[in-house]
Amino acid sequence: MSKQDITYGTQKRHMGMRAAKTLSNTAVYIILAVISVIWLIPFVFIVLESFRCECHYQVGYIIPQKWGFTNYIELFQNTDFPKWYLNTFIIALFTAAIQTIIVLCMSYTLSRFRFKMRKALMQFMLILGFFPGMLTMIILYRVLKDIGLTQEHAVPGLILVYVASSGMGYYVSKGFFDTIPKSLDEAARIDGATRAQVLFRIILPLAKPIVIYTILTAFMAPWGDFVFAKYISFGASAGMNVAVGLNGFLSLDQIMNKYTLFCAGGVVVAIPVVILFMCLQRYYVEGVTGGAVKG
């Protein structure tokens, strides 16, 4: 066998490996493409429907025959949607702010302080967290109704509901705080910093990803909540959030006139969440995994 042949042989073997790799890659990509198409179709469908102007009811085709913004215009002019949107935005904003503060304080305390019943408290909250929140719905409704925070005044009521149990969601951020060396705290304390100063000056700047993660999750939750919002707004349009309000468009007497408006509403609802997500995306991944490494 000449030298050339050997080279040729090796080359052939290389080609084979590359081909196999290409083949497996192709297969993987095809599977991924199929999955992503399946996953994306509903979203694309909703966006297309929202721009369809020829009629308001569901049709048997996907691509609109007439494009335009009439659904969006009608949504904002002829329905209570702006009110619902504002409600949800206010709820999300307040929830995000208050919940973030509570969660961070809670995590910091449980991570850095040692006090009696600390372990017991953590376990108690863990067990409490196993119960589905829906169980408390009836009693919460009664309480809120008695203090007058239902129906038209559902917005503060809902903020209260979302924020009330937020202290229990400390796990991920506590895990993250635990990864920050304690010696940093100690150094700051020796230099005369108070506990609060340690949290705000030392820990928080280091824990930026987790702060952002907490804000994001707290901000996003109210946009999709339906069950609580439905009960607490109890038929009063002025107190509804987007999910409850838009759901009304799907009722028997409205769906034929409001279906495309519903889709337009869905798109508008997605916008703030998408923007926020895009801006803060890189922190988000860090935040979620950060706590897990050494949690």
Partner: protein, 510 residues
């Protein structure tokens, strides 16, 4: 201080004068804050109607009304959850009526109002708003039933009376026949009503269900299933009652007046509406039935009696001939008020005409147990899955067993002459003690003092005269017959004990 008192006193006097001098003003006069719940498409109209009422009523009532769009389906559910927070006046479909009365969400109509309603409305509509002897709601529409919309370009006029012809047309054109058979008991019942089956429920004055006469599980029921199977087995079958199905290749949709405007928009001049077709089984033709339903308007009980009375005045106004006609003109809801229904413009509406045409085959939707809707809705799927008559029978048996369970109709009963041979009568239930059944009962004098031990709700038994081991001398052996009946020789009080494992029966005269 004195001055304030003087002013206050004189104010009271002036007010008293005004109150007396008003003449026509009644004790109801005043301004009330109220909340009204109605369907989204009549919100604006209702606001307008309330303003008209404020201007024109003779009682001096002014309503400061908030009208919220809470559809009929939602309104009832919400009211039951929290009556207190619900609308003062709300609209609902009649199937929710019994639940609402039970929940204390409806206030009774006064004698005068009741008389008015009875005189001016369709008798079935009045029955739908009646519980026991009393009226609890105001009939608002009589169009809450279903019929058939069809595409004239696919189904020729001469075919619309026959299910088989329509299916053939749909199959030939590659179009769908939309009939909601796999999710809705309301539509499924249509097939059973066609063959004369019944599901009649009895309530007491508090809205509690006490008995049911349900004949779906019968030979007629099997015929109904066979008819339904024709549709279910056809490639044209589509389970939907959504008017938008016309935009998705349907040629026929079975639905109601609420879809009228939408369908008109899709089909334009090709839109046809008619009563449901007939189907043929074993050479005999059966016209599809339907529910004839009503939408009602209710007034929530109030702490303030005057406010309650004022609300009733408003509800009367909103459901009066004029109110119903206004609603017809705005959104084409079919009136329950007989005078309004007789108007030419109402009669000229195709959808209303179809409701009226279907009306003669329709069963007024009385009070139906809330669980029935879930129990009956599976029939469609069960029928589709069945391959032969035995399968159909099994589907209906399952249905019947669930209905019986609603009334605790389980275990054995000693049915016979003493209870009028009513096999659903749980007062003759035998006490079950680990398979040993006992009952003590009075047997009154009659020609045939017979009976048998059966599973509640059925006639199935293998426990009768032949199994009697003790006390056979008290019985008439000759009268037992092929049915193995237990026939007493004389009237009196007896204790019957039956061991279901050993299959022995002991009878003792007390």
């Amino acid at each position: 201080m004195k001055r304030i008192l003087a002013i206050a006193l004189s104010l009271v006097m002036v007010l008293a004068l005004v109150a007396c001098g008003g003449g026509k003003k009644s004790e109801l006069a005043g301004t009330y804050d109220i909340k009204v719940w109605c369907a989204e498409n009549i919100v604006d109209l209702t606001k307008q109607q309330i303003e008209d009422f404020n201007k024109n009523n003779e009682f001096g009532i002014t309503f400061n009304a908030t009208v919220e769009p809470v559809g009929e389906g939602d309104a009832a559910t919400q009211m039951i959850v929290d009556v207190d927070a619900g609308g003062d006046i709300f609209c609902f479909a009649q199937d929710q009526f019994a639940r609402l009365v039970q929940a204390g969400a409806l206030s009774k109509l006064g004698v005068e109002a009741g008389k008015n309603v009875k005189e001016s409305n369709d008798a079935d509509a009045v029955a739908a708003a009646t519980m026991g002897e009393d009226l609890y709601a105001y009939p608002m529409t009589a169009d809450n039933g279903f019929f058939m919309y069809y595409d004239k370009s696919v189904i020729p006029e001469e075919h619309i009376d026959s299910l088989e012809d329509i299916l053939a047309d749909c199959e030939a054109a590659g179009k769908y026949f939309a009939f909601e058979t796999n999710t809705s008991a309301w539509y499924i019942a249509s097939w059973f009503f066609a063959t004369g089956c019944k599901s009649e429920w009895t309530t007491d004055a508090d809205g509690n269900f006490t008995a049911v006469n349900d004949t779906f599980d019968s030979d007629a029921g099997i015929i109904a299933c066979k008819g339904m199977k024709k549709l279910l087995d056809s490639p044209a079958n589509l389970s939907s009652s959504d008017g938008a199905a016309f935009a998705k290749n349907a040629a026929v949709v079975v639905t109601g007046t609420w879809a009228f405007t939408g369908i008109k928009e899709i089909l334009g001049d090709n839109m046809g509406a008619a009563d449901l077709p007939s189907f043929t089984v074993d050479g005999q033709s059966y016209h599809l039935g339907s529910f004839k339903g009503f939408k009602l308007m209710g007034v929530k009980p109030q702490d303030d009696a005057n406010k309650g009375a004022a609300l009733h005045k408003l509800a009367q106004y909103l459901t009066s001939e004029q109110g119903q006609l206004e609603r017809f003109n705005a959104v084409a809801w079919g009136p329950s008020n007989t005078a309004a229904l007789a108007k030419d413009e109402v009669q000229a509406n195709t959808a209303i005409a179809a409701v009226v045409a279907q009306g003669q085959y329709a069963t007024p939707q009385g009070q139906i147990h809330g669980s029935w809707w879930n129990i009956a809705k599976v029939i469609g799927d069960d029928v589709a899955a069945a391959n032969d008559d035995a399968g159909l029978k099994e589907a209906l048996d399952n249905y019947k067993a669930k209905i019986d369970a609603l009334f605790g109709m389980t275990g054995y009963i000693f049915v016979g002459a003493w209870n009028g041979w009513d096999n659903a009568d749980m007062s003759v239930k035998m006490e079950d003690n680990n398979g040993v059944l006992t009952i003590t009962l009075d047997v009154p004098e009659s020609d045939f003092m017979g009976g048998r031990i059966v599973t509640a709700g059925t006639w199935d038994t293998d426990l009768g005269f032949a199994q009697v081991t003790e006390g056979a001398d008290l019985l008439n052996a000759e009268a037992a017959g092929d049915d193995n009946n237990i026939v007493f020789l004389a009237a009196g009080n007896y204790t019957v004990t039956c061991d279901t494992t050993a299959k022995t029966i002991t009878i003792v005269k007390n």
